[in-house]
């Protein structure tokens, strides 16, 4: 073993978590190094070729508002963009883009290479140097020791990974990359609780062998919304590619049923826990036997490739069965498989080993993010990555950790769910997991988080100033439309009637009229001479904040109650076993998890409201003595 140059932060893994972690640490002035088993796997998308979607789109916008890279990178490399759920109310509007996955990783690598303080290095990390419960360095397979102050584990699905289809089990990481076999054992030896999860990906087929004319075309939106708040729609315009919708047939299901005995999922070869929300096609056919057909989406993998991702056909059946069943899909009769679908099993940590700053509680200076923490998805990984990078940097600088609450960001919900409740399957973000969904909209991620990103040093002065201008414009316009009164004049009533809403009998504020669902902001322009020229993003905020005012206020009120308990901090040295009146189960759970606040404690399963009452009484007593 020989010693390399000492670093502040070592990031282990170059996936979506690792990239954001390395970038945020380096941008906060930390001397940072990112290790990847293969530098060509940096920011690789080994599964679906898209970024965003419901709740995940929210995460990307939050990452962007904090100064992360994912939003900007997909804006550079998207080949189709859509806003989903536009008919369902502002809280759940969700942005999703199809990526050119080859350009996506190139573009991200380019950003990493151009970032000061950041080195990238191809190497497999096989061990951590830990002294007196504290990380001192990381060690590569070839025997190099890189001393560091903090390390961030972002190992994705690489740890002791196995890829499986049918009878064939390949000992490798995702997409033919080499796995990492030695680190997992070392982590177990550090008495970290590890577990084995499973996920999967469908086959890729050659677009030249698909008859798209038999399928339903799905085009991108004409009116673009960029992911990054730094970009404008005009700045990112480009020709878009389509996706296609097709269906399975009875024949597909028949082939699957006939070959179930060859499926490793059903024959018991796979032991890892897979996600319910990402079932393989064989799982769907068995569990929902009465369903006549399943939807399948064909998504292009890039601009300059014929590969298509067959969304909905994730499978670990043998290669020949996969080929046969793909050819029973409508329009896929002659399909040629380019890559076989597979299930992948990998080691990850029980996230209850972490605290809310994503620090592993048993070892100082050790952080982790992404699939290693039991999550699933590029966006979930990136969101944890940026937080782990920030917190590792803050810790080295001797500052308080940066924690987002559940009422501040989806990122807060994601991390709190993982570390407080734990998970028994790869965790996927969903909008229904967020209690304060109406406050955590994708459109206001910048209003929620830019200020924080700026204070961390991740948002440029220029962007911050432009953010402040936007914020001020929104506030001014809301105040203005609340003040401007419109009477029941003929002109006003004509507009109202033409939009299909009742005329006015007496004067009301313009804000009151804008609350009517039928009325758009631009409708009132003829009767609103004092109207300033405003950016569409500003108008959008004004309209949402006025129209949903009552509901937003209700959620703010609930969030304020919630915060009171989050702000009651629990000392880390509490001896829960000695607290009189606490049930044994609760005392054990609390001692194991060591929640940071009474609020967090109340979300631990097995801790009852009565236990919380006892805790409050105890804290009061402790404070008075």
């Amino acid at each position: 073993m020989y010693q390399e140059e000492a670093m502040d932060v070592a990031v282990i893994g170059g996936g979506h978590a690792g990239c954001e972690a390395a970038l945020s640490a380096a941008r906060m002035g930390m001397k940072t190094i990112l290790f990847a088993i293969n530098l060509d796997s940096i920011a690789m998308m080994p599964c679906n070729p898209s970024i965003g979607g419901t709740s995940k789109g929210h995460l990307v916008r939050e990452i962007d508002a904090l100064g992360g890279e994912m939003g900007k990178n997909i804006d550079k490399t998207y080949i189709q963009s859509r806003m989903l759920n536009t008919a369902k109310g502002p809280a759940v509007h969700s942005l999703r883009a199809q990526a050119d996955k080859f350009r996506y990783k190139e573009a991200m690598k380019e950003v990493l290479e151009g970032t000061p303080n950041l080195r990238i290095r191809q190497a497999e990390i096989v061990d951590l140097q830990v002294e007196e419960g504290r990380v001192k360095g990381v060690i590569t397979a070839s025997g190099a020791l890189y001393p560091c102050k903090a390390a961030i584990l972002c190992t994705g699905t690489y740890l002791s990974a196995d890829c499986i289809h049918g009878e064939y089990r390949q000992h490798s990481g995702p997409n033919g990359m080499a796995g990492a076999d030695r680190l997992s054992g070392k982590l177990k030896a550090l008495s970290l609780s590890m577990r084995r999860f499973k996920t999967g990906t469908p086959a890729r087929v050659d677009g030249r062998t698909i008859d798209f004319s038999k399928m339903e075309e799905q085009k991108g939106d004409e009116a673009l919304v960029p992911f990054s708040f730094e970009n404008s729609p005009e700045g990112i315009g480009r020709p878009q590619r389509s996706c296609y919708l097709t269906y399975t047939t009875e024949e597909t299901h028949e082939i699957i049923r006939r070959n179930l005995h060859r499926s490793p999922l059903f024959s018991g070869v796979i032991h890892g826990t897979g996600p319910r929300y990402c079932p393989s096609i064989e799982d769907k056919v068995v569990r929902f036997a009465d369903k006549k057909r399943h939807q399948i989406f064909l998504e292009p993998e890039g601009e300059h490739t014929n590969e298509y991702y067959v969304q909905g056909m994730s499978s670990s059946l043998p290669e020949d069965v996969q080929r046969d069943m793909l050819r029973t899909l409508i329009g896929m009769e002659n399909a040629q498989v380019m890559r076989t679908g597979y299930a992948i099993e990998y080691d990850c940590i029980d996230p209850q080993e972490l605290d809310l700053s994503l620090r592993i509680k048993k070892i100082e200076g050790l952080y982790s993010a992404g699939q290693f923490n039991g999550s699933s998805g590029y966006e979930e990984a990136a969101a944890q990555g940026i937080m782990a990078g920030i917190n590792a940097a803050l810790w080295i600088q001797g500052k308080d950790p940066f924690i987002l609450r559940r009422d501040e960001a989806y990122i807060g919900v994601l991390i709190d769910d993982l570390v407080t409740k734990g998970t028994n399957e790869p965790y996927r973000m969903m909008t229904s997991r967020a209690e304060y969904r109406l406050l955590l909209r994708q459109d206001n991620a910048d209003l929620r988080l830019t200020e924080k990103g700026y204070r961390l040093g991740l948002i440029s002065e220029k962007r911050y100033q432009s953010f402040l201008r936007k914020k001020e414009a929104i506030e001014n316009e809301i105040e203005r439309v609340r003040k401007v009164m419109l009477g029941g004049s003929r002109e006003v009533n004509e507009i109202l009637v033409s939009r299909g809403t009742a005329p006015l009998k007496m004067g009301v504020s313009m804000a009151e009229i804008l609350k009517r669902p039928e009325i758009r902001y631009e409708d009132l322009e003829p009767v609103d001479p004092g109207r300033p020229v405003l950016d569409p993003q500003v108008i959008e905020q004004v309209m949402i904040q006025i129209r949903y005012e009552g509901y937003i206020e209700k959620q703010i009120e609930q969030a304020e109650k919630f915060q009171k308990m989050e702000h009651r901090l629990l000392p880390q040295d509490l001896d829960y076993a000695s607290i009189h009146g606490l049930r044994i189960e609760a005392a054990q759970k609390l001692a194991k998890l060591r929640p940071g606040s009474v609020g967090q404690a109340s979300r631990i399963s097995g801790v009852s409201p009565a236990d919380i009452s006892v805790l409050l009484v105890y804290l009061k007593q402790r404070k008075r003595t």
Binding site: C47, G89, P90, C278, P279, S314, Y551, H580, P609, S613
Partner: protein
């Protein structure tokens, strides 16, 4: 649950004593007092002076009915028991009346106090000695476990199963809304089959009906369930008739929920009781005796209090032992009957729980009734207002749910995220007694019902 809410409860034992108190604590206490109480002599409610008693009328703000004439005691923070603003309505002590006053208080923004919550607040606001901390913590634990046990029993009742049904229907809608939000591209066949707006209207109407009928007669229909259990000829019918006949209370025959039980309502000094005669044992002949015992035991276990009858001079049999073992977890009294024919030769079972009576001479009947009263109010069945607490809680939940469903209908056009927000509140309100939170249930339901994912 929050520590900032205004809380209320009946704070005197029900049924004993001529005066009953409904206590309200928290920032809304004065406001609620003003809405419900009109002092004599044109005094304005907002002018209540702290620590002064007012005489006047207590009115139900929903119906305008005068509920009672009584005393209002208003005490401003910090010099109060809890350290918060406190209003106390001192009424005449009837159970029914107190419950209506409490209900009116709850409908105006207070929430039912958790077990021990007044004391807990007193402690947290520095109103109690530090040395009392441990006893406060003990009390919270003990009261909560009792209340939880009671609540889970309540949910087996008729109102409970109704509430469960409404929760399921709300969840049916929620799941559809949420699955379409989180999986917008998937065709959800079930979504076409359910007219959400229509279903919401139905739910609102049914919940309103439930809320209206929840009061009338429920005190009589759903009083404290007292089961009479024992082998044949142990004097059950005689005791039943003695209790009913003596009281001359309202007697109605309600067909039992189980095939062979008969229920009769009676009123014991303002405590509504449902006497359940377990006919299974009475009629059983040898071959079916085992089954009869089963049924009787099942009926008995669902009751709040068991009167286990055994003739004073009779020795115990293996059936008696079996019954005793089965009913031990439910509060019970061992009633040694037919005292006129002779005293029990030797004590059997727990002497603390034994009463000796003669329904013929009336000897021991007063003691029995007193023991029942004690069991109901003070002891194991419920702390003080227990039974009513459970019911009032359910009623408050229904009231809240109606409001949120009305909200969902009103804002239907604003989008499914808004409807969902209201419905999640309704589900949470109705589910306060059952544990699981909406979010956990939702995720579970989404994945078990729908076929989704890449």
């Amino acid at each position: 649950m929050s520590w900032e809410d205004t809380i209320a409860a009946i704070s005197t034992p029900i049924g004993t004593g001529g005066i009953g108190i409904v206590r309200v604590s928290g920032s809304k206490a004065a406001q609620i007092a003003g809405l419900l109480f009109s002092p004599v002599g044109n005094r304005k409610a907002k002018d209540f002076i702290s620590h002064k008693a007012y005489y006047g009328k207590i009115t139900d703000p929903d119906t305008g009915d005068i509920l009672d004439e009584g005393i209002l005691l208003y005490m401003k923070a910090p010099h109060t028991f809890t350290g918060e603003d406190v209003a106390e309505f001192q009424c005449h002590g009837g159970v029914y009346l107190l419950r209506r006053v409490l209900q009116a208080v709850l409908s105006r923004g207070a929430r039912l106090a958790e077990p021990g919550e007044f004391t807990k607040r007193a402690f947290l606001n520095g109103k109690m000695d530090l040395s009392q901390a441990e006893s406060v913590m003990d009390m919270i634990g003990a009261k909560t476990s009792l209340a939880l046990k009671a609540a889970s029993r309540r949910l087996d009742g008729r109102l409970g199963s109704k509430i469960q049904e409404y929760r399921r229907r709300i969840m049916d809608i929620l799941v559809l809304l949420e699955v379409e939000i989180d999986y917008p591209e998937y065709e959800i066949e079930e979504a076409r089959e359910l007219d959400i707006k229509e279903e919401l209207g139905k739910l609102q109407k049914e919940l309103e009906d439930l809320y209206r009928t929840a009061d009338t007669g429920r005190m009589l229909n759903e009083g404290i369930r007292v089961a009479l259990v024992g082998r044949p000829n142990m004097g059950k019918s005689t005791l039943l008739n003695a209790l009913l006949g003596e009281e001359r209370a309202i007697v109605t025959d309600i067909p039992g929920t189980t095939r062979d039980t008969l229920e009769e309502g009676m009123n014991l000094d303002g405590i509504p009781l449902r006497l359940i005669d377990t006919a299974g044992i009475r009629e059983s002949e040898d071959p079916v005796e085992a089954m009869g015992v089963e049924r009787a035991i099942r009926a008995a276990k669902q009751s709040d209090l068991i009167l286990f009858l055994l003739e004073g001079t009779s020795g115990e049999t293996k059936e008696d032992l079996r019954i005793l073992r089965e009913i031990e977890d439910t509060p019970y009294l061992l009633v040694r009957t037919k005292l006129d024919r002779g005293k029990p030769e030797e004590a059997w079972g727990d002497p603390e729980k034994t009463v000796c009576i003669s329904a013929v001479t009336g000897e021991g009947m007063e003691e029995l009734k007193e023991r029942i009263r004690q069991m109901v109010f003070c002891e194991s069945i419920q702390p003080k207002d227990g039974v009513y607490l459970g019911n009032a809680r359910q009623k408050q939940a229904v009231y809240g749910a109606i409001g949120t469903i009305r909200g969902a209908i009103g804002s239907y056009d604003l989008g499914s995220d808004i409807i969902s927000m209201d419905l999640q509140n309704a589900y949470d309100l109705l589910g306060e007694l059952t544990g699981n939170s909406t979010r956990e249930d939702l995720t579970e339901e989404i994945f078990s019902r729908f076929c989704l994912g890449k």
